[in-house]
């Protein structure tokens, strides 16, 4: 028997070599030799969770013992042994860009004691001033969860005054006129975040999808979540769109 030459296979090999030579000519002409799939599931995950934002200016956050917070940029003088400058506290609160009601800030960020001399009124927060003792931070996360799961406040007095320029009224009867001491001991904690600080919210996400805030930037995230809980993507809170995009991804 005569063995037939395997011409079809030879043709196939020749065709393959010809195709490869053609491909090489195209490669020499600029055809990419490596293509990467950019629209993978991994990419989607990264784009939604990896957003970051930069604070356009310095942020100071003043927190009282009830967990209310004022966000602004004014000075807040503090003297060891004497405490906070009352006029600074008053001016900061009156001119704050954003105000958050009592209970917003977890106890781990609150001052360890309420003021011994009450020179300002926190009653305008609608909070129960006396039911929170010294914070030890042990229940910060559960408080945060409760905050995020709570319905939007219905009482106008409880709603944080978010809009820039929406200053508190000068005549809001906060008893400051009776405040004699120039310096007030305890009662407030101050956090400062420098201008141009980059905050990446996903840094504060735990493995289970919950939030794990820490430090000043973690406090900013907490306030951002509170803002988003009430106002979503609206307004001018720096970084809110980034935080909301993550919340949307998490299905919150």
């Amino acid at each position: 028997m005569t063995e037939q030459p395997d011409t079809p296979e030879l043709d196939s090999e020749q065709q393959k070599l010809a195709d490869r030579r053609q491909l090489l000519r195209m490669g020499a002409a600029g055809l990419p030799m490596v293509l990467t799939l950019k629209a993978s599931a991994q990419q989607v995950l990264i784009s939604q969770l990896q957003c970051a934002f930069v604070l356009p200016r310095r942020v100071r956050i003043l927190v009282n013992c009830n967990g209310a917070a004022w966000v602004g940029n004014r000075r807040l003088r503090y003297r060891n042994g004497q405490g906070w400058n009352v006029a600074d506290i008053k001016a900061f609160k009156e001119n704050a860009d954003y105000v958050f009601p009592s209970g917003t800030v977890p106890s781990s960020y609150r001052p360890t004691a309420c003021p011994e001399v009450v020179c300002d009124a926190d009653d305008d927060n609608g909070g129960d001033d006396n039911d929170i003792g010294s914070g030890n931070g042990s229940n910060a996360l559960s408080e945060l969860d409760a905050l995020l799961n709570s319905p939007m406040p219905s009482n106008a007095a409880e709603i944080a005054s978010f809009a820039a320029g929406n200053r508190r009224s000068k005549d809001d009867d906060d008893d400051d006129d009776d405040c004699d001491p120039e310096w007030q001991d305890n009662g407030y904690a101050r956090y400062t975040i420098s201008r141009n600080t980059e905050i990446k919210p996903s840094d504060y996400l735990g493995n289970n999808g919950g939030w794990n805030p820490s430090g000043s930037k973690g406090l900013y995230i907490i306030l951002s979540l509170s803002y988003a809980n009430s106002y979503g993507n609206a307004g001018s809170w720096p970084g809110i769109s980034c935080v909301v995009s993550i919340l949307n991804y998490l299905g919150s």
Binding site: R20, R21, L24, G27, A28, M33, V34, T36, L37, S40
Partner: protein, 110 residues
């Protein structure tokens, strides 16, 4: 006297490239290779030449020139078919994709 550009070119020429064969999984479809790169979780389409370069570099570190010669031999191509400049382009694209990396100086000195 060599120019700075020539110096860079000569430095590029002696760089050895390496790859970890354990870092990818691949499947061939009609002389095209679908490569899933585990470290980045990205998927790449490689043609026969770029995949051949990846395999060769993965089996043994190689410079552009040694890789060029190995590819000519592997695919039975002539220098006209496969100029060195195209191999350099492939290496650059594989590097940009993170599939290969230069051998570290520490590794070279050890």
């Amino acid at each position: 006297m060599p120019t700075a550009e020539q110096g860079v070119e000569s430095a590029q020429a002696v760089i050895e490239w390496t790859a970890d064969p354990e870092s990818w999984m691949s499947e061939e479809f009609n002389d095209t290779h679908l490569v899933f790169f585990k470290p980045s979780a990205e998927t790449h389409f490689l043609n026969f030449l770029s995949f051949g370069a990846l395999e060769l570099v993965g089996s043994s570190p190689a410079t552009n020139v040694t890789l060029w010669h190995a590819l000519l031999s592997k695919f039975a191509l002539s220098e006209q078919d496969l100029p060195l400049s195209l191999v350099e382009t492939v290496v650059q694209q594989l590097d940009e994709a993170g599939l290969i990396s230069p051998v570290s100086l520490d590794a070279q000195n050890s």
